[in-house]
């Protein structure tokens, strides 16, 4: 039982998935219960694993699925960083989704595929070989497509088409890259980086471009980010999930794995691949923020903000210095918590007040004070205002840039923060300081459903605040990121 | 019983000519019934090649002949099916009132 813990962790969402697909609509309450129970159990398992891995235990489950290609699930520190983020946010998003949808069409399908997404994201996190990673990465695409087209209108179908076109082309490039590398150096496990010294540098560079290009699609790296803003046609819980943890993070996580566990810092530095990637990431940061300023629709603005924020992770990873790595890794968690807060609030505003555009936000803070408070914490965090979590990421990234003799990073961070302020502060200003339109008898937390819609964002906002305030405590994301850096990358 | 050497090649050569003629007919003819007949000519040619090549000096190899007999049985069965289908098709077309039973789009 101990040995198969990774497998149990990955396969657990299959149970609620099957229950969700099978139960008829009139038993929706049972379906919701199954989803919540499974999500809670998963949090429990991960908590236990965190304790074990901290103590230095490594768990794995291996199965040879094709000659020379092992299917390997492995619990290590980096995997757990991603897994704990996913399981926490999934529990929260499940509650939110139940509140958001209430009773509507196609919910069995929604929750079924929702769970398959959890399964894939957990699999992505725990993958121990490149091929295993690819399998789950591709499964993630398939499981998210029905969620993107959930509404079934022309806009969502178009978003679904664009999403598939980008992601499938990306994973094809990634697949070619990993098979090419496999043909040259044999099978690739993350714990045992292959010996690349015999491979010509040009080939290595090409493979790196293929892999990072393929993964960069999901990570929304410029110019591969086009699918993300259109995917906003999906319902709010889906956007929240796609942006905060599932899809974009899978791409960013994959790039981190490529740099540190496949190529290794030494090879990447030797080939001179770090600076170009860092430059591209920096450009994406600024470009995403600039585009965000120009958007009027809240969700699209947040989407471009994601384009920008995810590249912080890549910036940290490609700078290859201890502080930069820590900054990048911790931002993986911080961005997830903050962005999901923002999306859940945006969804609540649209759901309860019909607010979709920035210009409609006038006085929203008086009508939905709890929601807007959570939103404000997320927004301030994104800007990098202490003591919210975003500040920690930016601080470490900035120091990392200085350590790697890349002082321009500080300028990029400052510029991006200014732009973040430029698109978030007007929203806060409108919501809190302008008068609301007349709304008789509106109550933010009137029913249980309302509370399920609003309170998850409060929880994540509190988490974002806590991750910043208690950053030096022993269970904070920062401490964990430092542990990863110590164990893996900074010998 | 000896057959002159030229005659030894007579059957295969005739067979080859038949195959060529049949193939030519299959490609140029339009009506399915004619095409079916052309295919039968090809078949006859092949059986001649098969049987003729089996003729040795003095003894005749029974093996190719067994093959030919089987082949002929198969060919008869398929020809029957083909003619039945062609007959049915022209009936259908006549019933549909599309005038002459000359099929219009039978380009192979």
């Amino acid at each position: 039982m101990m040995l198969s813990a990774p497998l149990v962790l990955v396969l657990l969402p299959l149970i609620p998935a099957i229950i969700s697909f099978a139960l008829p609509e009139r038993l929706a309450a049972w379906r919701n219960a199954a989803n919540l129970v499974a999500a809670t159990v998963k949090v429990g398992i991960v908590a236990d694993l965190l304790r074990q891995v901290r103590g230095g235990v490594d768990l794995e489950w291996r199965y040879t699925f094709l000659p020379g290609h092992d299917f390997l699930l492995r619990v290590d520190t980096l995997a757990l960083l991603f897994v704990s983020l996913s399981v926490f946010l999934w529990l929260v998003t499940t509650v939110y989704a139940i509140g958001y949808f209430g009773r509507g069409p196609n919910l069995a399908r929604f929750f079924g595929f929702f769970n398959l997404c959890v399964l894939s994201a957990t699999g992505v996190a725990l993958s121990g070989t490149v091929v295993t990673f690819f399998l789950f990465y591709e499964l993630l695409t398939l499981a998210t497509w029905p969620l993107v087209v959930h509404n079934g209108d022309e806009k969502s179908l178009r978003a679904g088409r664009i999403y598939l076109a980008y992601t499938l082309a990306g994973s094809a490039a990634f697949l070619v890259g990993i098979l090419w590398l496999k043909a040259l150096v044999g099978s690739i496990e993350f714990t045992a980086p292959p010996d690349l010294s015999a491979v010509p540098p040009l080939t290595l560079t090409l493979i790196f471009v293929l892999c990072v290009g393929g993964l960069g699609v999901k990570a929304a790296l410029f110019p591969l980010h086009g699918w993300l803003p259109t995917a906003m046609a999906a319902p709010a819980p889906v956007s929240a999930l796609l942006h905060a943890v599932a899809v974009v993070k899978a791409g960013a996580f994959g790039i981190v794995r490529m740099i540190y566990d496949v190529y290794g810092i030494g090879t990447v530095a030797e080939l001179g691949l770090g600076p170009p990637l860092a430059a591209l990431a920096a450009f994406t940061i600024l470009y995403g923020s600039l585009r965000a300023v120009m958007q009027d629709e809240i969700k699209t603005r947040l989407a471009y903000s994601t384009v920008s924020q995810v590249s912080y992770i890549l910036l940290g990873a490609s700078l290859i210095g201890p502080f930069a790595v820590i900054g990048g890794l911790v931002h993986l968690v911080h961005q997830g918590i903050m962005k999901i807060t923002l999306f859940m609030c945006a969804g609540a505003l649209a759901n309860r007040l019909g607010i979709k555009a920035v210009t409609d936000l006038d006085g929203a803070g008086r009508l939905m004070p709890v929601t807007m408070a959570a939103f404000s914490i997320g927004a301030l965090g994104m800007i990098g205002v202490p003591p919210v979590a975003g500040f920690i990421s930016k601080w470490y990234l900035g120091i990392g840039g200085l350590q790697s003799d890349a002082a321009w990073v500080v300028a990029v961070l400052a510029g991006s923060s200014l732009l973040n302020a430029a698109y978030f502060l007007p929203m806060l200003y409108r919501a809190w300081l302008l008068p609301p339109p007349e709304r008789a008898g509106f109550r933010e937390l009137g029913t249980t459903r309302d509370r399920m819609l609003v309170l998850p964002a409060v929880v994540t906002a509190a988490a974002a605040l806590a991750a910043g305030v208690f950053a030096s405590s022993s269970f904070s994301p920062l401490t964990w990121a430092k542990l990863i850096a110590e164990r893996g990358y900074l010998q | 019983m000896t057959v002159p050497a030229v005659l030894g090649h007579l059957f295969p050569l005739t067979g080859a000519v038949l195959v060529g003629l049949g193939l030519c007919g299959f490609i140029t003819l339009r009506h399915p019934l004619r095409q079916l007949l052309a295919v039968n000519v090809i078949g006859a040619g092949i059986f001649l090649i098969l049987g003729g090549l089996g003729r040795g000096e003095g003894v005749t190899d029974p093996y190719p002949q067994a093959l030919v007999i089987t082949g002929i049985v198969v060919s008869v069965a398929l020809t029957a099916l083909g003619t039945a289908m062609i007959a049915r098709l022209s009936e259908d077309r006549r019933a549909a009132g599309s005038g002459p039973d000359q099929p219009k789009d039978q380009d192979p």
């Binding site: 000659p67 094809a172 697949l175 099978s187 | -």
Partner: protein, 485 residues
């Protein structure tokens, strides 16, 4: 009696029984299904190297039946297809008034004839016997194709006939030249002289016509699209595989020593063009069944794209396994897709892709079956189709062959384009159309087949082991089993 005999004899006995039973022919599947599935399972677990001479006549006169890797993979898959199709066809070909009765009369005997013919084709090594089996299968296939459109069926019939005769001509040449037409004996005796090369050429050309490899595919889409759903499923899944299996026997067993690499490349090139052409055509179709039929044209290309990859591989066992896994998973997925398409089109009483709007909600199980089949056909993980294409891509990259690798990648993407289009339409529309509820037994058939195609993705090692049983020397190689690192 050996299971090898029974696999051929039993369906033929059921055919006779179906002819006699007439209207009641459909009941026979209740006996035939379990019997044939059990025999197939028996075949899979037979010890390696089992072979059997029919009637104890020695080669070259006798006929050798052999349980090699090809048979061990294709016979069970074929049986699964036939059983599922029969369950689906239960209602469609039941006794009704008028012309429908005639169809019910012909369908069931033809099903068993095709079944017996296919099994004989997978098991035998005798090239003339193979001629008889392809004619058996063609006969049944033509009869089934004619149920949809007589004109398309007739066209198919004539072309198939010429193809078989070309094959027969080659057999005749070989018989007179070598005094045997057994593939195992030819492998030893074959010399690269003119009659042999001529024989190989005409046989290959004939078989390519029957397998509908681009540019000889013209007859396939109209015939497969017009037939009733169960018939389309069998035509696309089973019938064309037989010509391919015979080509495998010719190119990698009987004449493996004398076929030149350039010829392999030619076949591979035709396969590549088939993938691209078939996919593009499939994307352009407005009618669902034509889309699925063109997808068959494309998917067949993969089978031939693999030829040069097998011939040039350091370890040919992997691409060899890949091509067989592809044949099997295409068989299962394509049958599932035609059956699911049949259910959906019948429910909406249309034949266009746009008619599917909103079906994901109204017919979730049919759409699920279609989607699972699409995943396997597009080569997305986890599925048999993915395993096959993964191994092929791996082989192509290992050999440094850029063109096949590029075609594999582009073909996969194009596949996703045409397969997700109907799915996308099915997911559209918030209001579900009013259709009759899905009959659970009928939808079980495509669902089971599609799930099998997906399940194959988890059994990669087993499939590779099975495919290497009694593999011809040209492809037998130690399966590389390095356990990671």
């Amino acid at each position: 009696m050996s299971p090898l005999d029974l696999l051929v004899a039993a369906p033929l006995a059921f055919m006779v029984a179906a002819l006699v039973a007439g209207q009641g022919g459909r009941w026979l599947i209740l006996a035939a299904g379990p019997v044939m599935l059990a025999l197939s399972a028996w075949l899979v677990v037979l010890p390696p190297g089992v072979a059997h001479l029919v009637g104890d006549w020695d080669l070259p006169l006798g006929i050798l039946l052999r349980a090699d890797g090809v048979a061990r993979l294709l016979v069970p898959a074929t049986s699964a297809c036939f059983v599922a199709v029969a369950l689906y066809a239960w209602h469609e070909f039941s006794p009704k008034a008028g012309a429908e009765t005639a169809r019910a009369h012909t369908f069931w005997p033809m099903l068993y004839l095709m079944w017996g013919g296919s099994n004989a084709g997978y098991l035998t090594t005798d090239l003339f016997n193979l001629y008889v089996t392809i004619e058996m299968v063609s006969l049944a296939a033509v009869a089934m194709a004619a149920m949809g459109s007589l004109a398309a069926g007739l066209q198919y019939f004539l072309i198939a006939l010429v193809g078989s005769l070309a094959y027969l001509l080659g057999v005749a040449l070989l018989a007179s030249h070598y005094d045997t037409v057994d593939a195992t004996l030819l492998a030893v005796r074959a010399r690269p002289d003119l009659p042999t090369l001529m024989a190989i050429t005409v046989m290959t050309a004939g078989l390519l016509v029957k397998t509908a490899l681009f540019p000889l595919h013209g007859w396939l889409p109209p015939a497969h699209a017009a037939a009733p759903a169960p018939a389309s499923a069998l035509l696309s899944a089973v019938v064309i595989k037989l010509g391919f299996v015979i080509l495998l026997r010719l190119w990698f067993e009987a004449f493996a020593e004398i076929i030149r690499p350039a010829a392999m490349d030619l076949l591979g090139g035709m396969g590549a063009l088939a993938i691209l052409y078939g996919s593009v055509q499939a994307i352009r179709q407005e009618r669902l069944k034509l889309l699925v039929a063109y997808s068959t044209v494309a998917q067949l290309g993969y089978l031939f794209l693999a030829f040069p990859l097998i011939a040039n591989a350091q370890n040919p066992a992997e691409p060899w396994a890949a091509v067989l896994v592809h044949a099997v998973s295409h068989m299962l997925a394509k049958a599932a897709m035609f059956l699911a398409a049949g259910l959906m089109l019948k429910a909406v009483a249309g034949d266009r892709i746009s008619d599917l709007a909103g079906l994901a909600r109204a017919m979730p199980l049919s759409v699920t079956a279609f989607a699972l089949a699409a995943i396997s056909l597009a080569g997305l993980p986890p599925s048999g189709g993915f395993t096959a294409k993964f191994l092929l891509l791996h082989a192509a990259i290992e050999q440094g062959r850029v063109v096949p690798a590029a075609v594999l990648v582009i073909g996969g993407l194009l596949g996703a384009v045409y397969l997700f289009r109907p799915l996308s339409v099915a997911f559209s529309g918030s209001a579900a159309p009013a259709v009759r509820a899905e009959a659970p037994l009928r939808v079980a058939a495509p669902l089971a087949l599609a799930s099998l195609a997906i399940a194959l993705g988890f059994a990669g090692m087993t499939l590779i082991e099975l495919s290497s049983v009694a593999a011809p020397p040209a492809v037998a190689g130690p399966v590389q089993a390095e356990p990671g690192r």
